[in-house]
């Protein structure tokens, strides 16, 4: 997972389909942005069917992370600067 492994993350969803993770973000977080595959969140290039939803909740960033053998995880990471950078993308 590269740098994701070193993050203090919470797993919101695990072994989900990509569509389930997108629907979860859009139904559980009032604030989200849509990005294209390859967009960088922290040091991770996000994978997915465009558009990819990234959730924002205060200083928390909620984003999908896909692994070939385990499907898509939704990770929730607290980072004030990254949340602000993503909000500026709106």
């Amino acid at each position: 997972m590269g740098c994701v492994e070193s993050m203090n993350y919470e797993i919101v969803l695990r072994d989900a389909t990509f569509r389930e993770s997108r629907d979860y973000i859009k139904s559980h977080y009032k604030e989200f942005i849509d990005v294209q595959p390859g967009f960088k969140v922290f040091d991770v290039h996000v994978i997915g069917l465009p558009p990819i939803a990234i959730g924002l909740e205060g200083d928390f960033v909620i984003f999908p992370y896909t692994k070939p053998c385990h499907g898509t995880f939704l990770l929730r990471v607290e980072d004030k600067e990254e949340a602000a950078r993503l909000r500026a993308q709106k």
Binding site: G2, H45, I47, G48, P68
Partner: protein, 157 residues
């Protein structure tokens, strides 16, 4: 006399999925062989297990050329540092479809979805982006998928 301009050699990226379905390694080696014979340079990108299955099976690198980590391949392509003439994404689960859609978005390569496994039809239905789909119900026996590949002949494209 000035050197004749040369046409850049074609390259193909093989994006491997989780190696839990046995036909993947066999079909990947078969496809690599066909691509090389057609003068196309194959590059493999997968997770550690998928790459290691290939590297161990071909210790003298008769078939394999460059092998790279999948996350690194995505990063290089997303940052426009590298691209390929064609891209074959091996799909037997939702993650495979997700990677194929990503390749379609970050690369200019001609995209092929190579779909197999017990639930291959379910995965094919999720493919709503432009690509050539090569699909067969193949789990342990690679021949149905080999036949599907041979019908499309992507190495001749």
């Amino acid at each position: 006399m000035a050197d004749e301009p040369t046409t850049p050699r074609k390259t193909a990226l093989l994006v491997l999925g989780c190696p839990q379905v046995p036909v993947q390694t066999s079909i990947a080696l078969y496809l690599i062989n066909r691509l090389k014979k057609a003068g196309i340079t194959p590059v493999v990108a997968g997770n550690k297990a998928a790459n290691t299955l290939l590297v161990v099976a071909d210790p003298d690198r008769h078939y394999l050329g460059e092998v790279m980590d999948l996350d690194r391949a995505v990063a290089l392509m997303a940052e426009k540092k590298r691209d390929f003439s064609s891209c074959f994404v091996f799909i037997h689960n939702d993650a495979g479809v997700t990677y194929a859609a990503t390749m379609g978005a970050i690369s200019k390569a001609k995209l092929y979805a190579v779909v197999y496994g017990e639930h291959y039809e379910e995965q094919v239905k999720k493919i709503e982006f432009p690509c050539t789909t090569i699909a067969a119900k193949a789990i342990h026996n690679p021949l149905p998928l080999k036949k599907a590949l041979d019908e499309v002949k992507p190495w001749d494209a």
